[in-house]
């Protein structure tokens, strides 16, 4: 049975016109970079300012989680080799991460990229 753990990294104080509340689900072995076991359920609740891009969100997460930072932004080939972003059920192109801004109720999933098999 998978252990469920919900983290409130920035406790949202209800709907505010100045912030958007979003949900981030971390999947597979990326969970280890967020200090969890792979069998845990890792859900982060965040409040972000209007106009915040997905890339800005990822950089914020990287500041809090050094392993995530090292393996994504620290990788010489950049983010795309290690982490894939799914926004509201759709994979987001790495070329769009700077352009896509977050809105109230958005659900983001972070999953490792993997090639071969």
């Amino acid at each position: 049975m998978a252990k469920t753990k919900t983290l409130l990294t920035r406790a949202p104080s209800g709907k505010s016109p100045d912030t958007s509340n979003i949900t981030i689900e971390v999947l597979s072995w990326l969970k280890e970079d967020f200090n969890h076991k792979i069998t845990d359920t890792v859900i982060l609740k965040e409040s972000v300012s209007p106009g915040t891009s997905i890339m800005e969100l990822l950089r914020t997460l990287a500041e809090r989680y050094p392993a995530f930072a090292r393996k994504t932004f620290g990788h010489k080939d950049g983010l795309t080799e290690y982490c894939m972003v799914i926004l509201n059920g759709e994979i987001i192109s790495p070329l769009e991460l700077d352009k896509k801004t977050l809105r109230q109720g958005d659900v983001i999933k972070l999953t490792p990229a993997f090639y071969g098999g």
């Binding site: 080939d77 994979i91 999933k109």
Partner: protein, 619 residues
């Protein structure tokens, strides 16, 4: 010509099964510089000795099984083998690799490779040791599965588990199933494009290579040791160390999340039970024991005993990701213990796991939709997840019983024979091969690679450790057709270099710079980076020239209707590849320096790669 002195034994073993003749042949330095070894060396023998118009099951076809310049050295992943032949599914050039120990053992016995020609009138196996080479009677092994064959040969010759490497065919190879493979060292496989059927056509049951004692001379032993350490560190670090610690056992749920897990024959991308197959869970639940290849410290490969469920007590190998997926999500089967059993059954029968999954899944979808009847399927109710029916149909295929005789020809043949709506459910390429165990509608570059590959399976892959030297697009949108064409074309040759080194991809990660250092430290050839990259691209283009003469045409480089269909759900549901296909192919051909109408490398491409002689031969 000067015999190669370093990084090589300086010779290959030749076996003519028609005449029962065995002899040694010298390997020269110029050949290694041009073709590197492994896959490249096999391609050299194929193009020189097998007329492209020869059928795959003609005794004139050769079966090459060989190591590379790093084989037998203490560098992780370099004990693998590459198999090269004219394959049964595409009737074209084939290259497929297996991990394990045979590559190292063979070089320690004094050979870089074994090249088998002709066909024996009775079943044989080839026994190689320090003391020489023998063709042994294999009549008692006929009908035995691949694991039984390994056990019986070791027992007959008096070898312990690690004292000998045995690669054999199972019943599927004996019965010339078009997607039969070659299996050994407890479930490692060189299995693509029907190499096991080629072996069966020669009445060759197995290769048995003792752990020899001869040292492989190298030019710089200290540097080789250092590269061995660096390779281990690379493997530990790559992808957060997941492959090093977990092999591919954690991939299935990850694939589902990203929409490239194949579920029920591409009819959905949702597999709710995915987490049951997570490696962490399975390795903790079942008995699991690391069983590494020579010189490798990773936990990529495990033996496994099922401890609960209907197959409690069954022992075999832990399935690789593609095996897990083929016998779970692809066929609607949700029990990990059953997946362990079915994956091992496919290995033991001696079939390629992906094609087996595609064909079983195709039968299930067709049965559920009424395109195939219970009567046509010899009384089997092929409903999703019906394990008893799956087990029986796999055996029917391996022994060519009933409708299994049609299915044994592969997905493309069976679907085209049935026609109608059933044809639209089948996943294959126009050349006759089918994809690896992924939903490539979520991995466009691998769909392109599968379709244009000249090996019968993935040939390039986009993942290279040194993306800058291969000029890879960064950052890359995996659903941008221009970047996909660029990534596939620009990285052409990178994977081929690994296959010429015969180095496991999960230790090399296509690190071309490190491979350059390794080949120079081993052989003393002092190759430049440009020379090495060019050698990789040369071998790809040589195979292409051969395949064009063997019947390949550009119109065959196309996915089947289901293969390139639009996903109905999952994260890639609004990302169809089909509308972009023609533009993507046009750009890919242009970047490869190939003629779009004929598929042939252009004169300037041929000149740049120094293959004018081969182009002239196959014009």
């Amino acid at each position: 010509m000067a015999t190669i002195q370093y990084g090589s034994t300086g010779k290959v073993l030749r076996v003519d099964l028609t005449k029962g003749k065995i002899w040694d042949e010298a390997l020269d330095e110029a050949t290694i510089r041009r073709f590197l070894g492994g896959t490249g060396l096999g391609v050299k023998y194929l193009i020189e000795e097998v007329d492209p118009r020869t059928n795959w099951n003609d005794p004139q076809n050769i079966l090459f099984i060989g190591s590379g310049p790093l084989g037998g050295l203490r560098i992780p992943g370099c004990a693998s083998i590459s198999v090269v032949t004219k394959g049964a599914q595409t009737n074209g050039a084939t290259s497929t690799q297996a991990n394990g120990n045979m590559g190292a053992y063979l070089k320690w016995c004094g050979y870089d490779a074994i090249i088998v020609s002709g066909a024996s009138p009775t079943w044989k196996y080839i026994y190689v040791s320090d003391n020489g080479v023998e063709l042994k009677d294999a009549s008692k092994l006929v009908g035995k599965d691949t694991w039984e064959t390994e056990d019986l040969i070791k027992k007959e010759l008096g070898f312990q588990e690690r004292g000998m490497s045995v690669f054999s065919i199972g019943p599927a190879g004996e019965n010339l199933v078009k997607f039969a493979g070659i299996f050994g060292d407890r479930g490692h496989s060189a299995s693509h494009n029907g190499v096991g059927a080629v072996m069966g056509s020669k009445k060759l049951k197995a290769f048995a290579v003792a752990r020899g004692t001869k040292k492989v001379p190298v030019i710089d032993a200290e540097k080789i040791s250092e590269i061995g350490r660096q390779t281990t560190e690379l493997a530990k670090a790559f992808g957060g160390g997941n492959v090093f610690n977990w092999g591919t056992s954690r991939v299935l749920p990850t694939a589902e999340a990203a929409g490239w897990l194949h579920v029920k024959n591409y009819t959905t991308n949702i597999f709710p039970k995915k987490d049951l197959f997570m490696g962490d869970r399975v390795r903790a639940l079942f008995k699991s024991q690391n069983y590494p290849c020579y010189a490798c410290a990773s936990h990529h490969y495990e033996l496994m005993e099922v401890t609960e469920g209907p197959y409690k007590g069954f022992a075999g190998k832990e399935p690789e990701y593609e095996q897990w997926a083929s016998v779970s999500s692809q066929i609607g089967q949700e029990d990990p213990g059953t997946a362990v059993y079915l994956a091992n059954l496919i290995d033991r029968l001696g079939m390629e796991t992906n094609e087996a999954g595609w064909i079983v899944g195709w039968c299930m979808e067709c049965y559920e939709k009424g395109f195939l009847t219970k009567k046509e399927l010899d009384g089997l109710e092929m409903t999703w997840g019906n394990v008893a029916a799956v087990e029986q149909i796999l055996k029917n295929i391996a022994y060519r019983k009933g409708y299994g005789n049609t299915l044994a020809e592969g997905v493309k043949f069976a679907a085209e024979k049935k026609g109608g709506e059933a044809l639209n459910c089948a996943i294959f390429t126009g050349k006759g091969n089918s994809p690896r165990g992924h939903d490539h509608r979520g991995r466009w570059v691998e769909m392109l690679d599968t379709v244009v590959s000249d090996t019968g399976t993935l040939q390039t892959q986009m993942l290279v450790s040194n993306s800058e030297i291969w000029n890879m697009p960064k950052p890359m949108d995996p659903f941008n057709w221009e970047q996909v064409a660029q990534a596939e074309a620009n990285s052409t040759g990178s994977m081929t270099i690994s296959d010429c080194m015969v180095q496991c991809w999960f230790t090399s990660f296509n690190d071309t710079k490190l491979q350059l250092e390794a080949i120079n430290a081993a052989t003393g050839l002092n190759m430049t980076l440009d020379e090495l990259k060019k050698a990789g691209r040369r071998i790809v283009n040589v195979m292409r020239l051969y395949n064009l003469k063997a019947g390949l045409t550009p119109d065959k480089e196309k996915p089947s209707p289901r293969y390139w269909s639009k996903p109905v759900d999952g994260p890639n549901k609004d990302k169809p590849i089909q509308p972009h296909w023609e533009n993507m192919m046009n750009l890919y051909y242009k970047l490869m320096g190939w003629d779009r109408k004929t598929g042939r490398p252009l004169p300037e491409t041929i000149k740049e790669l120094g293959i004018e002689d081969i182009a002239e031969k196959f014009k």
